[in-house]
Amino acid sequence: MANQMQQQSKAAPQPVDRTKQYVAIFVMLGVITLAEVGAFYVEALESMLVPIILGLTAVKFLLVVLYYMHLKSDHRVLSLFFAVGAVMAIAMFLIVPWIVIWQYT
C-alpha cells in the first residue's frame, strides 16, 4: 500500500506536512463558533445579530472550503463550479423568501 501511495504523493503538488496549518484553521473555526454563540447571548448585539452571524458563518464556510477542501491551492475550475453552485443557491433562495414573505413585512 505504501508503495502505491508514494506514487500518488509524487503527483501531488505539495507533499509538505501541513498539520500545523490544519490545526490552526481548526482553532480559528472554534474561536469563531464561540464568538457567534457569544453574540447570540449578548443582548446589546440583538439588532446586529443577523449580519454578525451571517458574516461569521461565511468566514467559517470559506476557511473550510479554502483550506480543508484545498480550493485555495487546487485547480481554479473546481472553485468556479463550487462558487457558481453556492452563489446560485444563495441568490435564488433569498429571492424566493423576498417574493413570498419579506416584501410584505
Binding site: V84, G85, M88, M92, V96, I99, V100, I101, Q103
Partner: protein, 626 residues
C-alpha cells in the same frame, strides 16, 4: 460468443460480447445510446397514444368517451411521459452515442455510472406506468401543483407514483450530468480545445450544467411532497400557515431550466446538420457558443414568468418580465446564425436538412409566442389557456422533436452502414409538419377565445367546435407521420440502402470512423488540428498525424504494444437500479419492502464500489484504422 470469467476481488465478472446478457451488462456508451433511443421511442409512442385519446375526447363538445378522472390521468401522464420519458432520453441517446466520438474519447468518464443512469431511467419509466394497472395513474398534471398533490385532493396512490417516479428519473439524469461534464472537461483528444469542440458538445455541456443546478431543486420539491403525503408534514398545508406558491417557485426554478435542458441538445443537433448540408462551416461559431452559455445562465433567472397571475407585486413581476424578454436576444442570435449558415451554402435538401428547417421554423413560432407571454398584461390573458399549450408544443414538439427526427436520419448511417429511405423520410416530414400545424396552430385561436387548458370538455355554441375538431384530425395526420418514421427506421435497419462510412460528406470526427464503430472507437486517439477536423483532413490538407499540443506519443506507443484499455462490463448498474425501484414501491405499499429496498441499495452500492473500475485490454486488428 466469447465468454470469459475473471475474478476481480471476490466478484466474478462475466464478459460476453453478444446476446441479452451483453446488453444487460454493457458499459459501452454506444450501446447505451442505442438502448436509450429505443426505450425513449417506446415511451414516445405511449405518450402519443395518450395525446390521441385526449384529442378524441375533445373532438366534439360534451363528449363522454371516458371518465373525467381518466382524462386527468391522461394529460398528466402525457406531459410527464413526453418530457421525462421521451424527449429527455431521446436527447440523452444522442449525447451518449455522439459525445465521446465527437471529442475523440474512448468512452465517457464513468461508464458504469452511465449504465446506471440508463437503467434507472427505464425502470423509473416502467415504475410510473405501472400505476395504470394499480390504483390509477398520476392525475395532478405534470406540474404537480400543491395542494392538488396533497392527500386531501389526491387520496390514492396516483400522485405517489408521480413523485417517486420522477425521483428515480431525476437520480439518473443527475448522474448523467456529472458524467458528461467530467467527460467533456477531462477526456478530449489532444488538440481538442474547448473552442474547437463541435457545437453539439457545447450544448451538451451547458445542458449538463442546467441539469446539475436544477435537478437537485426538484429532488427536494418532490421530497417535500412525499413527506407531506407519506409522513404527514405540513409543507403545503394552508391550515398550518403554509404558502402553496412556494411549490410553484421551487417547481419552476427547476421547471424553466428543464425546458432549456430539452431544447439545448436539439439546437446542437441542428447546428451539426445545417453545416453538413450547406457544405459551409457553422456561421458565427463563437457567438453561437456564447449564446448557448448565456441562455443557460438566463434560464435560471426567469422562473416566475410561469406564475405571473399569482400576484407577486410589481417589482418581482417587472424584473422577471425583463429577464424573460432578455432571453430572446441570445436565442434570436442563434436563429440568425443558423440562417447565416444556410446563406450562400451549397444546399442539399436531404431529409435531415428538412427536419432541421422544420425545427427552425416551428421553434421561431414557439419563441415568438414565448416573448408574447413575457408581456405581463398579455400573459394575464393567456395564462392557463390553450394559447400556452400551443406555445410549448411549438417549442417542444415542433422544435425539439423535429430536430431529434433530423438527428435520427442524419446519424442512422453511422450506426448501421445503411441510409434511411429518403422518399419515406420526405413523406414523414410533410405529414408530420402539416399534421403538427393542423393540430397546434388552432390552439392559438382556442386559447385567445378563452378555452382553458386541462378541461375535460367544453360547451356547445361558444365557437370552440370547429377548431377542436380540426385539431383532432391534425393529431391523426401527425400520428400517420410518426408511423411512417417508425416503419422507415425499422425497415432500414435491415433493408436500407448500403452506404460508406461518410455518406453525407460530413465535418465532425465521428464520420472519420469505420462503420460499424469498433467498441474502442478509435484505434489511435486522434489529434485535433481544426474545428471541423474531419473536413479539414478531407479538404484542407491537414495531416491527421501532425503533432499537436498536449499529445503524448508515449501513450500511443504503449497502446500499440499492450493494447487498449477498456472498461469491464458490469451487472451492478442494473442491480442498483432495481434496488432503487424496489425501494420506491416499498415507500408506497409496504414499509418492510422499503427497508428491504434500502438495504438492497446499500448492498448494491458496496457491490458497485468494490467491483472497481478496472478493465481489460483489446488489440485493434490492423487494417481497420483509417
Amino acid at each position: 460468443m466469447a465468454t470469459q470469467t475473471t475474478t476481480v476481488g471476490r466478484i466474478p465478472r462475466v464478459k460476453k460480447q453478444t446476446g441479452l446478457w451483453s446488453w444487460l451488462t454493457t458499459v459501452d456508451h454506444k450501446r447505451i445510446g442505442i438502448m436509450y433511443a429505443f426505450a425513449a421511442l417506446f415511451f414516445f409512442v405511449l405518450g402519443g397514444i395518450e395525446a390521441l385519446l385526449i384529442r378524441l375526447q375533445l373532438f366534439k363538445p360534451n363528449l363522454d368517451l371516458m371518465h373525467p378522472e381518466t382524462f386527468n390521468q391522461l394529460f398528466t401522464m402525457h406531459g410527464t411521459t413526453m418530457l421525462f420519458l421521451a424527449a429527455m432520453p431521446l436527447t440523452a441517446a444522442f449525447m451518449n452515442y455522439l459525445l465521446p466520438l465527437m471529442i475523440g474519447a474512448r468512452d465517457v468518464a464513468f461508464p458504469r455510472l452511465n449504465a446506471f443512469s440508463f437503467w434507472i431511467f427505464v425502470l423509473g419509466g416502467i415504475f410510473i406506468n405501472t400505476s395504470w394497472f394499480l390504483d390509477g395513474a398520476p392525475h395532478a398534471a405534470w406540474t404537480g401543483y400543491a395542494n392538488l398533490t396533497t392527500t386531501q385532493y389526491s387520496p390514492g396512490t396516483n400522485t405517489d407514483f408521480w413523485v417517486l417516479g420522477l425521483q428515480l428519473l431525476g437520480i439518473g439524469t443527475l448522474i448523467s450530468s456529472f458524467n458528461f461534464i467530467v467527460t467533456i472537461l477531462n477526456m478530449r483528444a489532444p488538440g481538442m480545445s474547448l473552442i474547437r469542440m463541435p457545437v453539439f458538445v457545447w450544448t451538451t455541456f451547458v445542458t449538463a450544467f442546467l441539469i446539475l443546478f436544477s435537478f437537485p431543486v426538484i429532488t427536494i420539491a418532490l421530497f417535500l411532497i412525499m413527506f407531506d403525503r407519506l409522513f404527514g408534514t405540513v409543507f403545503f398545508s394552508v391550515a398550518a400557515g403554509a404558502d402553496v406558491t412556494l411549490w410553484q417557485h421551487i417547481f419552476w426554478i427547476f421547471g424553466h431550466p428543464e425546458v432549456y435542458i430539452l431544447v439545448m441538445p436539439a439546437m446542437g443537433i441542428v447546428s451539426e446538420i445545417l453545416p453538413t448540408f450547406s457544405r459551409k462551416p457553422l456561421f458565427g461559431y463563437s457567438v453561437m457558443v456564447f449564446s448557448t452559455v448565456a441562455i443557460g445562465f438566463l434560464g435560471f433567472s426567469v422562473w416566475t414568468h410561469h406564475m405571473f397571475t399569482i400576484g407577486m407585486g410589481p417589482v418581482a413581476t417587472s424584473a422577471f418580465a425583463l429577464t424573460t424578454m432578455a432571453i430572446a436576444i441570445p436565442t434570436g442570435v442563434k436563429v440568425f446564425n443558423w440562417l447565416g449558415t444556410l446563406w450562400g451554402g451549397n444546399i442539399r435538401f436531404k431529409t435531415p436538412l428538412l427536419f432541421a428547417l422544420g425545427f427552425l421554423s416551428m421553434f421561431v413560432i414557439g419563441g415568438i409566442t414565448g416573448v408574447m407571454h413575457s408581456a405581463v398584461p398579455a400573459n394575464m390573458q393567456h395564462h392557463d389557456t390553450y394559447f400556452v399549450v400551443a406555445h410549448f408544443h411549438y417549442v417542444i414538439l415542433g422544435g425539439i422533436m423535429n430536430a431529434i427526427f433530423g438527428g435520427f436520419y442524419y446519424w442512422f448511417p453511422k450506426l448501421t452502414g445503411r441510409l434511411m429511405n429518403e422518399r419515406l423520410g420526405k413523406w414523414h416530414f410533410w405529414t408530420f409538419l402539416i399534421g403538427f400545424n393542423m393540430t397546434f396552430f388552432p390552439f392559438h385561436f382556442l386559447g385567445l377565445m378563452g378555452m382553458p387548458r386541462r378541461v375535460f370538455t367544453y360547451a356547445e355554441g361558444i365557437g370552440l367546435e370547429f377548431w377542436n375538431a380540426f385539431s383532432t384530425v391534425g393529431a391523426f395526420v401527425m400520428a400517420i407521420g410518426t408511423m411512417i418514421f417508425l416503419h422507415n427506421l425499422f425497415a432500414s435497419i435491415r433493408n436500407g440502402e448500403k452506404c460508406g462510412s461518410d455518406p453525407w460528406d460530413a465535418r465532425t470526427l465521428e464520420w472519420s470512423l469505420p462503420t460499424p464503430i469498433p467498441p474502442h472507437n478509435f484505434d489511435e486517439i486522434p489529434k485535433i488540428h481544426a474545428r471541423d477536423e474531419f473536413w479539414a483532413r478531407k479538404y484542407e490538407g491537414v495531416d491527421p498525424n501532425a503533432p499537436v499540443e498536449g499529445w503524448n506519443p508515449e501513450l500511443d506507443e504503449y497502446e500499440k504494444k499492450h493494447g487498449i484499455h477498456m472498461p469491464s462490463p458490469s451487472i451492478w448498474p442494473l442491480i442498483l437500479a432495481i434496488a432503487c425501484t424496489v425501494t420506491a414501491y416499498g415507500l408506497i405499499y409496504s414499509p418492510w419492502v422499503m427497508v428491504g429496498g434500502i438495504l438492497f441499495i446499500i448492498v448494491s452500492i458496496f457491490g458497485f464500489a468494490y467491483e472497481g473500475d478496472d478493465g481489460y485490454y483489446i488489440q485493434p486488428t490492423k487494417g481497420l484504422s483509417q
